[in-house]
């Protein structure tokens, strides 16, 4: 037998005819897709735009086409290379130092940048007054705008840097190369290059950066330049940064955060899909009779399936388009949410890629998640038109498995596309699946326990509302899933933020430091201790520091390793000047992983040292391996005897390499001192005194850094919360969809109950109890899963004990329960509004 003559256009026509009469239900599906797609598109598009803007503004970010930099004065060979490149067009020396402002008695840790030449060649040196960007070259300083404001400084006031006092030529609004995040800790001050030497601040222990800026021809190939010059510079411990590599580096910094946000958006979309799947199930069930009639009239299985498939596809496209538009509008909000954390001014543009992303996501997700419920149409018997037929027992196992695999593959594939890391994306999908499965299991267990231990002695109202939780076509599973996932997300994000802050927080105990003094010369240690102690503050720790470079690793000279292109050893290990300390015991932020900790040694060969696990990984060394260091000209042979895990996130001095006591005591060294100040006023007084008497010493006020960190986390938290609330919005849409889909059944049930004598208030009470239970169960499971997830995160990622804060339990849990209750009851008012007769009459028709 052949097939009937109705083609694709008939399917479209039927989908349209049926869809336009059911648009109320379909609109809610579209709404779920729209919100989910908007979440993904807004984040994805914004991170794209940010990346593009960084690339576009790469030259003005660097201020030049490329820069050659080193952390020590460049030697003749580097000079020769620079000459062969036409000579540097501008140069800079920069370092951190305390600045004193004699007029206002203020002090501040600043990034001193001594400049010579026409820097910046791209972008602008924005100053107030605008002429100051040239005037300061005649012997003035440009001071960061926030500092000017904080210390109430005016143009013409003085700034003291080491031994030099300069007049402030103007306010520095922006300068290429200074980022706002770092600038908040050590804001920039620009002075002419020729004064650097006179400050007397360039001495042992200072972290100094030497930079040479170059302007290139339009036609010069930056990649080729890197390829040619980089390896030669590497040998001389110098580095080449082009504006392109700078843009890549900056882009990467924001990428991880963007990836994380993308995942949050993706979860919102998945939540929308749960709504599609459950709503579609109910939708198809309502259409079973129509499908049976169509089959009676001669429509084939495929045709009756395709009518609804076309509807879903159209919903997906419409939802995708609306979602893309909403996402585009939403991302306009992002710059104001994170504003000054961004390195560039971002101009939002409409990209074709986001439109395609939104469309394909909307289409693919709605089709994938509707396929399973849609399969039901295939098994509808035409006999249903004549009388009620028992539903077929099961769908084809093969088809079900194929749909399940399709969904898993798509989610994994999409996560991989977002994260670019197979293991992480699989972990993400596995985690997500676990949460889904746990919530599903809990919902099912709840229903079966309720059925088994049903409280028959309870009041009529309570019994009816409990029965609604497990009656046929109940909403328990879908609501527990959507509410649970939304709450899980919000609570986990809350806990994680808490953990990050707690980790960085300074313990409020008498013996923990809240100030660090750096770059102390050996001969200053005693005098500074006295100054601090006479101010009534305890010195907590004096840490000696010796700088050194790696000379050989496992017997191989660093020069050989540099030339060996197959070597896995990190460049950083080969080029970095390490700050090394010596002591006889481990400190709080360290844990011995391997080997034996040596307290003290007297030998001068095979000195037993301890390295951090990061150093061991990057240098490819393990216990027993020999490493030689160049300590300011003297070679010291050492052997790795222990490997430590170091918690770098603690706000305290930490070290990659630690020598035992007894070896380095006489080496040229400088020191770091940690102390505790009781309050801001005495902290400010001490800082003034120290800067006056010991201008080379830099002071890190940890309290200030912590408040900055809180500020940054607060801003990041804002955008994360924003995205998490988006999933709650999607949850609300799913919830409304679920309520709406079951309304028909509830209206009929309500009318029958009222005919039998129930009052409207009783019916509303039933509904209220039902939604309160559902809201509480979902939200409670969400918070519990978040506690479990965060404990796991604390254990695996943050390596800290996790004590959950009460906020999710006392605020998020009741708030979400109340939200579900309100939505449920508000949407059910219609049930008691119509007269029972009109409902039943309509039902009969």
């Amino acid at each position: 037998m052949g097939k009937n003559n109705a083609g694709f256009s008939w399917l479209l026509k039927m989908a349209w005819r049926d869809g336009k009469a059911s648009y109320g239900k379909l609109l809610l599906f579209v709404f779920s897709i729209t919100l989910g797609v908007a979440a993904v598109v807004s984040v994805h598009s914004f991170s794209q735009v940010l990346k593009e803007n960084i690339a576009l503004q790469s030259k003005s970010l660097l201020g030049a086409d490329y820069v050659i930099e080193s952390d020590k004065p460049v030697n003749d060979r580097v000079m020769g290379i620079m000459d062969s490149l036409g000579g540097a067009d501008a140069k800079e020396i920069n370092f951190l130092s305390m600045a004193a402002f004699p007029g206002s008695n203020g002090t501040k840790l600043m990034e001193v940048r001594g400049l010579e030449g026409g820097f910046p060649f791209y972008g602008e040196l924005e100053t107030n007054p605008s002429t100051a960007n040239e005037n300061f070259k005649n012997g003035g300083a440009l001071v960061d705008a926030t500092t000017m404001l904080q210390l109430n400084l005016q143009q013409g006031d003085s700034i003291k840097l080491g031994a030099v006092i300069l007049p402030i030529a103007g306010t520095l609004e922006s300068v290429p190369g200074s980022t706002s995040v770092f600038g908040a800790i050590a804001p920039p001050v620009l002075i002419p290059f020729r004064y650097i030497e006179k400050t007397g601040l360039v001495q042992t222990g200072s972290r100094i950066e030497y930079k040479y800026y170059f302007q290139a021809d339009e036609a010069q190939d930056m990649e080729l330049l890197s390829e040619k010059v980089e390896p030669v510079l590497d040998l001389e411990e110098a580095d080449l940064d082009t504006h392109l590599s700078e843009a890549r580096r900056l882009g990467r910094r924001y990428e991880n955060f963007a990836k994380f946000l993308n995942l949050v958006g993706f979860i919102a979309l998945l939540l929308g899909c749960v709504g599609i799947a459950s709503g579609m199930g109910i939708y198809v069930r309502m259409k079973i009779r129509s499908i049976a009639v169509l089959k009676c009239l001669g429509a084939s299985k495929r045709q009756s399936y395709l009518i609804f498939f076309v509807q879903i596809a159209c919903m997906g496209i419409v939802g995708g388009l609306l979602g893309t538009t909403l996402g585009y509008l939403l991302q306009q909000l992002f710059p104001s949410l994170v504003g000054d954390l961004l390195p560039v001014d971002v101009t939002i543009t409409f990209s074709l890629q986001s439109v395609l992303l939104g469309l394909s996501l909307g289409l693919a997700m709605s089709i994938l998640f509707a396929l399973y419920p849609l399969m039901q149409t295939l098994y509808v018997s035409p006999l249903q038109a004549l009388r009620v037929v028992k539903e077929p027992k099961s769908r084809s196992k093969r088809a079900t498995a194929a749909v399940g695999m399709g969904i898993l593959l798509f989610i994994s594939g999409f996560s991989y596309w977002l994260l670019g890391d197979l293991v992480r994306s699989l972990l993400f999908v596995a985690g997500l699946l676990t949460v889904f499965l746990i919530l599903t299991a809990v919902a099912r267990l709840f229903m079966s326990l309720l059925k088994k231990f049903f409280p028959y002695s309870w009041s009529f109202i309570a019994r009816q509302s409990l029965k609604n939780l497990f009656r046929p076509q109940n909403q328990t599973l879908v609501l527990v899933l959507s509410i649970g996932i939304g709450t899980f997300l919000i609570s986990t994000l809350y806990f994680t933020k808490d953990m990050l802050l707690e980790k960085a927080a300074i313990e409020d105990s008498a013996n923990s430091a809240n100030m660090i003094l750096m770059d102390i010369q050996k001969q200053q240690v005693e005098a500074i201790s006295q100054t601090v102690e006479s101010a009534g503050m305890p010195v907590i720790d004096k840490i000696p520091i010796v700088t050194m470079r790696v000379e050989t690793l496992n017997g191989r000279h660093v020069e050989d390793i540099r030339k060996d292109s197959t070597s896995q050893v990190s460049r950083w290990i080969l080029n970095h000047e390490f700050r090394v300390t010596y002591r006889d015991s481990l400190i709080g932020s360290e844990r011995l992983l391997e080997g034996k900790w040596v307290h003290r040694t007297e030998t001068n060969s095979d000195i037993p040292i301890s390295v951090s696990s990061d150093f061991a990984n990057m240098a490819k060394v393990s216990i027993g391996d020999p490493v030689a260091f160049n300590v300011q000209g003297r070679i010291m042979e050492t052997k790795v005897t222990s490997i430590r895990e170091v918690d770098w996130s603690r706000l305290q001095p930490n070290f990659s390499i630690v020598f035992p006591a007894g070896v380095l005591e006489n080496a040229p060294q400088f020191g770091v001192m940690t102390l505790r100040t009781p309050d801001d006023a005495s902290s400010a007084r001490l800082q003034q005194e120290l800067v006056q008497n010991f201008p080379n010493v830099s002071i890190l006020d940890l309290k200030r850094i912590l408040s900055l960190l809180e500020d940054i986390l607060g801003k990041i938290g804002w955008i994360i919360n924003f995205m998490a609330f988006f999933s709650i919005f999607v949850g609300v849409a799913v919830l409304m969809g679920a309520i709406y889909s079951s309304k028909h059944q509830r209206v009929k049930q309500g009318a029958l109950l009222r005919t039998l004598g129930a009052k409207s208030a009783q019916i509303l009470k039933m509904i209220a109890i039902e939604y309160t239970i559902l809201g509480f169960l979902g939200a409670f499971m969400g918070v519990v899963l978040a506690v479990l997830g965060s404990t796991l995160l604390a254990w695996l990622l943050f390596d800290t004990a996790f004590a959950p804060s009460a906020v999710p339990f006392i605020i998020i849990l009741p708030a979400i329960t109340l939200l579900v209750f309100t939505l449920g009851v508000a949407n059910s008012m219609g049930i008691v509004r119509n007269s029972p007769l009109s409902v039943l009459k309509k039902e009969k028709e």
């Binding site: 037998m1 052949g2 097939k3 009937n4 003559n5 109705a6 083609g7 008939w10 026509k13 039927m14 005819r17 049926d18 336009k20 009469a21 059911s22 009779r289 129509s290 009639v293 169509l294 089959k295 009676c296 009239l297 001669g298 429509a299 084939s300 299985k301 495929r302 045709q303 018997s381 035409p382 006999l383 038109a385 004549l386 009388r387 309509k842 028709e845």
Partner: protein, 225 residues
């Protein structure tokens, strides 16, 4: 006269719990082209099951049904659907209009399934014939029971079927409306030469047909005409 429907030794058994329920037992009869035929019997006698089998809405492995020259149980579900679309019309007790389609859209579905070009024109003519020209854009919920059944009649005759199955076509209607529907049914039967198979409780309606069988407990108890 050739046979449009041949039923031979048809039985149908449902499994209910741990015992078999014999709903139809060895039923055989024939319907000629253009003939009107009634299946009567009390509730539970197997009438609707027999109708479902004759129209290919259901299957069994005992007996044969030949409809328009094809053995129904040799065809797959889509094959039977095509056969219905080309040769069969339906009228149901509860009308079974598609609730999301207007009256006119309901009538044209079988025509469109056949790929008829001027389906709308034909649909409008059919609606006019059943007296509902002014109701074409109404949805089923906006029509009375009698009007809905007239739309269902127009839909049933839309593809000029060789045979029309009607399941209690007047069961849900008051007497006057029911009589009007019956008249319309026979009128169209005559005019188009469509064979008519009616399942009914209503003996008066059965008497108007050329031939009838009475079922009891799944067996033919009496054949009239």
């Amino acid at each position: 006269m050739s046979k449009i429907l041949k039923v031979q030794n048809l039985s149908k058994t449902y499994r209910s719990g741990d015992h078999d329920l014999n709903v139809l037992n060895n039923v055989s009869f024939e319907v000629d082209e253009g003939q009107s035929f009634a299946i009567v019997g009390p509730s539970g006698s197997g009438k609707t099951t027999l109708l479902g089998l004759c129209a290919g809405l259901d299957t069994t492995d005992q007996g044969e049904v030949w409809l328009c020259g094809s053995n129904l149980f040799d065809l797959d579900e889509d094959g039977r659907a095509l056969l219905r679309n080309q040769n069969v019309g339906f009228v149901f007790q509860d009308f079974q209009l598609l609730p999301t389609l207007t009256a006119l859209e309901n009538v044209v579905v079988p025509l469109e399934l056949r790929g008829v070009k001027k389906a709308y024109e034909q649909g409008k003519e059919l609606l006019a014939k059943v007296g509902l020209a002014d109701r074409e854009s109404h949805y089923p919920s906006q029509l009375s029971g009698g009007e809905q059944q007239r739309v269902a009649l127009a839909r049933a005759f839309a593809n000029r079927p060789s045979i029309l199955f009607a399941d209690e076509p007047t069961g849900n209607l008051d007497d006057d409306t029911g009589t009007r529907i019956e008249d319309l049914l026979f009128e169209l039967n005559k005019e188009q030469g469509t064979a008519l198979v009616i399942v009914t409780h209503d003996l008066e309606l059965a008497q108007k047909t050329d031939k009838s069988i009475r079922l009891r407990s799944g067996k033919i108890e009496e054949t009239v005409g």
